[in-house]
């Protein structure tokens, strides 16, 4: 498992494929940020693409390569807000077939929305480890390698994040 900083170095050295690896790695975390802001499926796809393209274009300005994850989340947040501004003000009412329980890809039920909104409220460091662990489905060792932190730090941050999430959900 290559750390983010190693992949970034490879991208800046001209290895374009290394960026494809970063896109795969951060797809779900970036989608999560976009879904939380936009909700609807099509704008999410556009915002996610924009976020990765903007990330690629500004990669050389990232001074601390270990902070790629939080930096990309910030870009994703901005891209999603841009798409939110572009949307028409009147959203057509969608009809749902009776008895349908499956939600289309990217559309969340109320509880999932609540949990996602709680994840987005976590402090940056905790949010990154939660997203890499659960959304990008890496184990703790891999999260530590990707984020450039020790396994102990990641474990502690996950534990704090779990506790904080429980609290936010309880209060909401």
């Amino acid at each position: 498992m290559q750390a983010d900083c190693e992949l970034i170095k490879a991208v800046l050295d001209g290895e374009k494929e290394a960026f494809a690896e970063l896109v795969s790695r951060y797809e779900r975390p970036v989608r999560a940020i976009a879904i939380n802001i936009l909700g609807d499926h099509h704008s999410v796809q556009d915002a996610v693409q924009d976020a990765f393209v903007a990330g690629y274009q500004h990669l050389s300005s990232l001074r601390n390569r270990d902070s790629f994850g939080p930096w990309l989340m910030k870009i994703a947040h901005r891209c999603a807000l841009d798409w939110a501004k572009r949307r028409p003000k009147i959203i057509p009412v969608e009809t749902t077939p009776a008895g349908a329980t499956e939600k289309p890809n990217g559309q969340l039920d109320e509880e999932s929305e609540g949990l996602l909104s709680a994840v987005v409220k976590l402090p940056e460091a905790e949010r990154q480890v939660v997203m890499l662990r659960y959304f990008a489905q890496h184990n703790v060792k891999e999260v530590a390698e990707i984020a450039g932190r020790s396994i102990g730090t990641v474990t502690k941050q996950l534990s704090r994040a779990h506790k904080r999430l429980r609290k936010i959900l309880k209060e909401s």
Partner: protein, 435 residues
Amino acid sequence: MTAKEPIESRLEKLSGAIGSDESLVANVMSRIDSIKANQKKFAEFKSSSLLRSFIMNRFTKFAAAAVFVVGAAFGLKVLMNDLARPAYALEQTLEACSKKQQAHFTFVQNDILNKAAWVEYDTDGNIARVRVDMDIDSNGKANQVIIWQGGHTKSWDVPQKILQLFDDANYTAKILYFVHRYDPRQAVEYMQKREQKGDVKIDINQPPGLSEPIVVTVDYEPNTFLVEGTFPPMREVMLVDQKTKLVTAVEVWGPGKDLGHKEDEWTLLGTYKYDGYDEPFEGGIFDLDEEVGSDVNIIDMKTVDNGLEFTEPNLTEEQMAVATVRAFFEALIAKDYNEAARLLSSDFNAEIRAKRREVWEKANLNVVEIVSIGQPRPPVRGSGFLIVPCIVAVEINGQRVEKKLEDISVRRALGHPNRRIVWFAEAGLDALISN
């Protein structure tokens, strides 16, 4: 997904619901290819066609020559002005800062805002009031706000809705130290003092153009970055505006290896940005009363009975740290959970202690022996506490397990200079009750 499910499995299910897009990688890479192709075309166009056609056109040949002559003359004027301008000295920044009544600065880490501070001076130039917003989240909201005024400190834990009040000389010194260190005027004075002692090397680079900042690079010897702390060699890079001579930013750099990075090179730890001198602060910036809300839990730390009190004179910080950790684990072994929680920094009221006791009792916490308590040591970076490594034995499901604990530290109890408390990460406490 139900509210009763463990948070871990709810997060895993949420990941599935978020979904993925099989064509994302291909779409992103295709857009990147297209951008690169356009950039290449534009660069070629700029470097060859445009310039060549401009120079080779018989009418523009004369114009090009004229532009060159005017450009050279302008360059010469700039050069003459530079030669006439006195070389920059740090005293110019001290002079420029001396008339300022207020300072506002932010601390940015990894391009993300982390802290913001507002400082107000009295007419004699002494610090009158300070506000520091800590651990700022992506929505720009602070997780902790500290207000200091005349020795009185208010510390607001925003998510926990707790407002702690304390008059602690040690904490006051810490706040003032933070401000002294990064207030533009005092930061420069500090650098000069350390240079006179031979602790730092200062290099000044003044570019010829007025639009580029003066760059002051300061290299600190080990343990000199902060007077009272243990520090590796550090570097600061201060940017000074050429016109106003005011500091606009201070970058703080540390050795990469020390931070666990692979490369042994300077790593940017963060940047202090000074983006407003004497701009009026928002009304009520130093007043928390309305901001905290009516449901905040106000705790006067002087009235809190916590920590281990030391009355014997001449005890070292290390001796007190070991004694405090020992007392904490002895209380756990005796299953005196009230006493153990009383020694924990986070558990400062009866309600929190009762919850802690409930968690430990429910989990059948069974600490059976203190195997060893190691030599307390200062942190790699920072000050004000000692880390106390120790090994304790716990019994989990009838099995004795030895736990090596590396993240216990001991610090002063707020508002009680003779008391020491244990600080223990929640994950460390969790480790005592799980395999």
